[in-house]
């Protein structure tokens, strides 16, 4: 990232001056033209006021420097989702500058405005419009300055590629750099300036190369683990064999004799540190420790029954009509239960952090989706004010929701304090699996019915432990209720044996798998083609259009399932984005192997800022989604995690690759929506439905492993 260029900006004394005004703040940013703006509502400003020492009437800013370069400051981070490119595109578009002259300064708590974190596909829809408005405002300021400078009325001026010129006489011009030179101008954006219409776009919506690509193909890109400070020690930490285990006895004498090793102990927190990470690892292996493991009989097979037993009372998320009425008009009633296992985030970069403490200040580099929460938690654990902690976020090697938890950074801070040296903590793969906040195991129970005419008459839905998001069904069903018990993050004690949390498109993978399977079951019983059955129950034009687009690309021809063709369909909504997916599978009924041959995904995410980027995200979602659909499942015995590396925990591979086709549908002027998550949500349902279409075997549990396929074939 471009943070380096800003390191010399002396922002440190900011922290002690709560009274700093905007003008002073602009000076500290290095002058030029700075536009302040506010994202979100006043609660965001309030949260920020507690975090930071600078003026509290804005929480984002954009600067045009004296060199004519544009800097966008954002607390968001880049972890592969491509916002480093799409945000820069938005600023470049509204400012009429080339994409190359925009710098993104991201995830640095000292330079960037407070931000809750990068998750939930919110960067584009929430941050995007305000950033565009600020850029438009900046352009208006530049044009104003140019009227003075060139002595030409505004109406005759035009801005292009960082230059303002006279429309009648092009050589009569002035560059943004010249206009910003020697100026300290601050503007607060109160009214939203007019944004460009879609038809005026020259940067937004045009395919561009990723801005981080060159660094990433040459090995130059810095991730947290690549940071090595003078005198830094690499730490390895003694871990329990199971969650809930307690240390009984420990002998570190064998580890201590390794040359250069430092052993640190604070109660049960024991670490070995060395200037080389592999030496620290060697020392860790020499520690002899005994643990007490509490009795806990729940495992990956019994977990579902256990969860149903401890489920908290449900809340109604949605309701309409009367289930009783619906039941009366039903000629068939379907009562099904859907399960999904715990799934790991498993980014290839494990949780990593480097902490350096100097006096009462700390600098932290962390692979995190939430730099500002790292800042406050480390401040708390070190007992220093938040503003004394600077968190810098280098490139993040994948997050998917898992890097919203930052235990590794707290560990590094603790060790930096105990040793008085800079410390790097980089988790091993086993630690990454052990301390992951898994996508929760979950259960969905659905009762539904159809009439003689093949119309869905009622829908009684209850989801346990996955979460509420998109649990409300969107088909036209006269009588329906949706109940939600438990959540993905705040699990009731005694429910999950380890931590759970948000996993790419939290709750929605589970809810979509269950809903779309149940819809297909009813379609099949009614003897109606599953696409037609869906269309029959959909009045939402956006979804109908999208299904048509997917069907056209796929070459869908109507047939009731199972047709033997192995075709599946699923559709979903995800926070404003619509997704329709069709797939073709081959099922080997002997060995249970499922090969997904083709996937067509149509997505309506409003205006796509960077269509190529959006397609990449869709492909990523489809490929990643094959994993939770087919193989990914955490095995465990009580608090003991049994899958600790990629041998038993199976990620999607090249040989699984289906042919992938994506269709982007833009309905009218729906503003841009996030695209990092939506397309993954259909993968469980679409493959389950395709397997049924191929074999007549209905699978109710994710992942659909070869064992479960064989078992299904046997049951049939």
């Amino acid at each position: 990232m471009n943070n380096d260029e800003y390191k010399d900006v002396e922002l440190n004394h900011l922290t002690s001056q709560f009274t700093l005004n905007r003008r002073e703040f602009v000076k500290l940013l290095g002058g030029g033209i700075v536009i302040f703006f506010t994202i979100g509502d006043s609660s965001v400003l309030l949260a920020q006021r507690q975090q930071r020492g600078y003026p509290a009437d804005f929480n984002a800013y954009l600067r045009i420097g004296e060199d004519g370069r544009v800097a966008c400051f954002t607390g968001k981070i880049e972890m592969g989702q491509g916002v480093i490119t799409s945000l820069a595109q938005m600023a470049a578009e509204e400012l009429n500058v080339s994409l190359g002259s925009v710098d993104m300064v991201m995830g640095d708590t000292e330079l960037c405005p407070w931000d809750m974190g990068t998750f939930g596909s919110r960067t584009t829809p929430v941050f995007g419009p305000v950033l565009r408005a600020a850029a438009a405002e900046a352009k208006a300021v530049l044009i104003e300055l140019a009227t003075e400078h060139l002595q030409i009325p505004k109406s005759r001026l035009q801005a292009e590629d960082g230059v303002v010129f006279d429309k009648n006489q092009r050589e009569n011009q002035v560059t943004y750099a010249q206009l910003a030179k020697g100026k300290i101008i601050e503007r607060r954006m109160d009214e939203k300036p007019a944004l460009k219409a879609k038809s005026e776009f020259t940067v937004i919506g045009k395919p561009v190369l990723r801005r981080d690509a060159l660094e990433k193909v040459t090995g130059e890109a810095k991730f947290t683990g690549d940071i090595r400070l003078p005198g830094m020690l690499y730490a390895r930490i003694l871990r329990p064999p199971a969650h809930g285990a307690s240390l009984k006895s420990v002998d570190v004498s064998e580890a201590e004799i390794i040359e250069g090793i430092q052993v640190v102990r604070e109660n049960d927190f024991i670490a070995v540190l060395h200037e080389y990470p592999d030496e620290a690892e060697k020392a860790l292996e020499k520690i002899n420790a005994q643990f007490d493991i509490p009795e806990n009989n729940v495992n990956d097979k019994t977990i579902f029954e256990h969860l149903l037993n401890v489920a908290p009372e449900g809340n109604v998320a949605d309701r309409g009509g009367s289930i009783e009425e619906g039941e009366k008009s039903a000629s068939f009633i379907f009562e099904e239960t859907y399960l999904n296992s715990y799934v790991a985030h498993a980014p290839i970069e494990t949780h990593t952090a480097v902490v350096q403490i100097e006096g009462d200040k700390a600098t932290v580099w962390a692979s995190t989706q939430t730099p500002f929460s790292v800042q406050s938690s480390i401040a708390r654990s070190l007992g220093i004010p938040s503003e004394n902690v600077r968190v810098i976020t280098p490139y993040v090697g994948g997050g998917f929701g898992g890097k919203t938890q930052n235990r590794q950074a707290e560990e590094a801070a603790r060790l930096a304090k105990l040793t008085g040296k800079p410390v790097q903590v980089a988790w091993s793969r086993a630690e990454e699996f052990f301390y992951d906040t898994f996508r929760p195991a979950a259960v969905v129970k659905i009762r539904s019915g159809i009439t003689d005419a093949g119309k869905i008459s009622f829908w009684d839905y209850c989801v346990f432990f996955a979460g509420e998001r998109e649990s409300q069904q969107f088909y036209d069903i006269p009588h329906h209720v949706t109940m939600v018990s438990g959540d993905w993050g705040r699990s009731t004690t005694g429910s999950h044996p380890f931590s759970t949390g948000a996993w790419r498109a939290p709750a929605v993978n589970t809810n979509t798998f269950a809903r779309e399977s149940q819809i297909d079951i009813m379609a099949s019983k009614a003897g109606i083609d599953p696409l037609e059955f869906r269309l029959k129950h959909l009045s939402d034009d956006r979804m109908r259009k999208l299904l048509d687009a997917a069907a056209e690309k796929f070459g869908w021809t109507p047939s009731k399932a199972p047709s033997g063709r192995g075709f599946g369909i699923a559709c979903a909504k995800y926070l404003g984005t619509y997704i329709a997916t069709m797939a073709e599978v081959d099922v080997n009924e002997q060995n249970g192997n499922v090969q997904v041959k083709r996937v067509v995904c149509a997505q309506d995410m409003g205006i796509a800022i960077n269509p190529e980027g959006a397609k990449i995200q869709i492909e990523g979602c489809i490929t990643m989604g094959l994993g939770y659909a087919l193989t990914e499942e955490m095995h465990f015995k009580g608090g003991e995690i049994l899958d600790l590396n990629f041998d038993s925990y199976k990620l999607p591979r090249f040989s699984w690759l289906p042919e992938i086709e994506t269709v982007l549908v833009e309905t009218g002027d729906v503003p841009p929506q996030g695209g990092g998550e939506p397309a993954i949500v259909n993968m469980g349902g679409v493959i389950a439905n395709a397997i049924f279409d191929a074999t007549g075997v209905r699978l109710y549990q994710l992942p659909m492993t070869p064992e479960r396929v064989i078992e299904g074939v046997r049951r049939k």
Partner: protein, 152 residues
Amino acid sequence: MKETINFILNGKPISLDVDGERMLLWVLRTDLGLTGTKFGCGQYLCGACTVIVDKRAVRSCGYPVRNVEGREVITIEGLAGNGELHPLQKAFMEHDALQCGFCTPGMILNAYSLLLRNPHPSREEIISSMDNNLCRCGAHNRIVQAIQTASE
């Protein structure tokens, strides 16, 4: 036990005093400051740590540095020659064959060794020789396309 190990690293002869049993990955990343080679699993399971030793892809997380004595090692930092990106690097950029980019160095070097053995692989050959390199972001499709382009 320290020993002197001589080898060619990215085209330049070097001599290291190092415990020969240490794994190449950590010697590259720390002693030599070449952090483009990544740690992903430590057990030959992901390929993030792939480097080239005498034209073959090896997984440096399990490869003792002693074994490079007298050999030629290429890491991602050494793939571009004379300021010119390697065709694979260009193709990865053109095809957007990366997202978070953490698996990328290993992917490119594994593909590099494939192209040395087989300059014009079929799609199937690409897939089978890349199959043990993991990418969590799901950039697979583009990676295959990039390798195809680079081999043309």
